[in-house]
């Protein structure tokens, strides 16, 4: 799935990791470790995100303007002020919305048709 970035002619491939990060950031601003933990939570332990994959995805998303890094730092008493926080941009929200719509329409088709699993027809 390609997200067309109208700003600079580059397109971002919405990988499962990037999609999960967008989902997490749709709930509010997060720092890296919070994103990592929440991605694991919403994937129900089926996906484990490593720090390198996380920050490579973050870099890709920053380059594609899907997210932005916040200038303000958290209160030192509440959190580590060295942590960098990230926020979903309008473009990121649109990419997320488009992908969710695409998945919803796919799901509708699957539910309507029922599918074959191990040669047995399964209805949803």
């Amino acid at each position: 799935m390609k997200n067309q970035n109208t700003n600079d002619d580059r397109s971002i491939t919405l990988t499962p990791t990037i999609f999960h990060i967008l989902v997490v950031l749709s709930g509010g601003d997060r720092h890296g470790y919070a994103i990592l933990r929440e991605v694991e939570e919403i994937a129900e332990g089926k996906a484990k995100l490593g720090p390198t994959t996380l920050y490579r995805s973050i870099k890709t998303m920053l380059d594609g303007k899907l997210i932005q890094e916040l200038d303000e730092r958290p209160d030192p008493e509440l959190d580590d002020e060295r942590r960098r926080y990230y926020r979903l941009t309008d473009l990121g929200a649109k990419a997320l919305s488009d992908e969710v719509s695409r998945l919803e329409s796919l799901l509708k088709v699957v539910r309507k048709n029922s599918i074959l699993i191990d040669n047995r027809r399964i209805a949803f």
Binding site: Y33, G50, T52, T53, Y55, R56, I58, R82, R83, R84
Partner: protein
């Protein structure tokens, strides 16, 4: 609650992870190295609280694997980005040369000149439209294949069914005219189409 501030395996794991991160591209490491180490340390703490030292070592193995995979991916991406332009140019050149050779061969075999010239115009227009920035190159390559093929045919003594009864690389050079016209029209058409599409999108 388990104490992890002075835990050897935790310190060791973070140290190894930081050292290993030097295999990542320098720019990326400078921008995100500290954050990655911090997140890795947090992951180690959580793993220690759940499974003790075994959890920390498991985190080190997983973190190292993640780092290696991404270093390879980053290396491949950088390699492709560096060579992409060159590869595209090479492919365009090969396609242009092949198309030119085909049209020139048809010219050598046929008695009618409009057919090969029509082919030249179609090929150059299509390649110019696909990649306007290289249209001059494809035009030149396709056009030049005519004198080249005629030159080869004459020197190799190929049987030629040409209207002139022989092969003349000099006359064949005239194929450059429709070739350059076709490629220019291809590039201009693409530019016009892009302009119309962008206006429509606005």
């Amino acid at each position: 609650m388990k104490q992890f501030h002075n835990n050897f395996w935790m310190t060791f794991s973070v140290y190894v992870y930081q050292r290993l991160s030097f295999i990542l591209p320098a720019e990326f490491r400078l921008n995100y190295g500290r954050d990655m180490s911090q997140v890795f340390r947090d992951c180690c703490r959580r793993a220690y609280l759940r499974k003790g030292n075994v959890g920390v070592l498991g985190e080190l193995v997983a973190g190292t694997f993640d780092l290696l995979i991404n270093a390879v991916r980053a290396g491949i991406t950088a390699l492709i980005d560096d060579n992409r332009r060159m590869l595209v140019l090479l492919m365009i050149s090969m396609v242009g040369t092949g198309a030119g050779a085909y049209a020139a061969f048809a010219d050598l075999q046929g008695n009618e000149w409009p057919g090969p010239i029509f082919m030249v115009v179609i090929f150059t227009f299509a390649l110019g439209f696909l990649r306007p920035s290289s249209s001059w190159l494809t035009g030149l390559l396709i056009g030049l294949m005519f004198p080249v093929m005629h030159f080869v045919a004459r020197n190799k003594g190929w049987e030629i069914a040409h209207p002139t009864g022989g092969s003349s690389p000099y006359w064949a050079s005239l194929a450059l005219i429709p070739a350059l016209i076709g490629s220019t029209f291809g590039a201009v058409s693409r530019s016009v189409l892009d302009h119309i599409v962008s206006r429509f999108e606005q």
